[in-house]
Subunit: 153 residues, 2 copies
DNA sequence: ACGGAAGCGGAAAAACGTTCTATCTCGACT
DNA sequence: AGTCGAGATAGAACGTTTTTCCGCTTCCGT
């Protein structure tokens, strides 16, 4: 079920990333093809899991989300059970927008988006009450200089 | 130009975040309204800049982007001119998916998505050749535990 | 050169976005 | 309390887009 992508596929993906709202005709014109092949290729890439969710990006600030933290986590616990509970806690909390397990010194990094610093503290207290964490450093974002979900194809 | 959001607006935004591909009828049924108000409200929120770009999320791994780094940057330069050049460099590089200016000890954090560790090194060398940076720490992601662009409304 | 599979462009059918209009709701004012 | 007006709503109407279908071409293996 794997799909080998050619140049046309990549052009289509580029267009979809740029604006998923445009019509097939527009995409077809842009990539130099016609409607049917564009449609078939998108369908295949969807089935293959290359193309995932279609979404809109909302402006966090105008919705009152004024604080964004990057949270660096060190833990002394490395058993499976602890990991499972930690992961479940992260997935259950919508303010956690991103979570990565890292190589090296620091074990995890989270990106947490909340309404204000107090909301972050509430989140933080709830998290450390739920799972044991050795060391936490929070980095507060003052300004989002760049944000994109697009991959450079 | 500001829009005060009511409960219906938030329901619509929640649906759009969940799946921006569904039809107006589906959204209307889900939020308990009809097509026209849903359409008008989305249009207004678009104009107000609350609703931004519509995009698809692609699977980075199946497209060969196997490495993701978080880059912590300290600099000794804090003049306007340096900042401008640094910002321009970040915006020009598509592998930089996210960049924040931070409060405190560390000045900037970047999220950099590349095909492999070598590609990261290429990026890193190019960046430090372009702008003077005092200290850099790269955190390598082993596993993306969670990713969402959705805000918790 | 031939056969077959895969991909293509264009046409038809179904679904959808967008506009319009009449109706409804709700708050302000007398 | 009653009335008026602004703004929002449901539903129908219209034009566009998606999705399916089909015949044609291209390309590869034999």
């Amino acid at each position: 079920m794997d799909v080998r992508l050619d140049d046309l596929d990549r052009k289509i993906l580029r267009e979809l990333q740029r604006d998923a709202g445009q019509s097939l005709d527009e995409i077809a014109k842009e990539v130099g093809s016609s409607k049917t092949p564009v449609w078939n290729r998108i369908r295949k890439m969807r089935e293959a899991g290359i193309v995932g969710a279609q979404t809109v990006l909302l402006d966090a600030e105008s919705l009152g989300f004024d604080a964004c933290f990057f949270v660096l986590i060190r833990t002394s616990e490395h058993e499976k059970d602890w990991q499972d509970r930690f992961l479940a806690a992260l997935k259950a909390r919508p303010e956690v927008q991103e979570a990565h397990r890292l190589a090296g010194d620091i074990d995890y990094i989270l990106k947490v988006r909340v309404k204000n610093a107090r909301a972050y503290d509430t989140f933080y207290q709830a998290l450390i009450a739920e799972v044991k964490i050795h060391n936490v450093t929070a980095l507060l974002s003052m300004e989002e200089l760049k944000f994109t979900t697009a991959l450079p194809l």
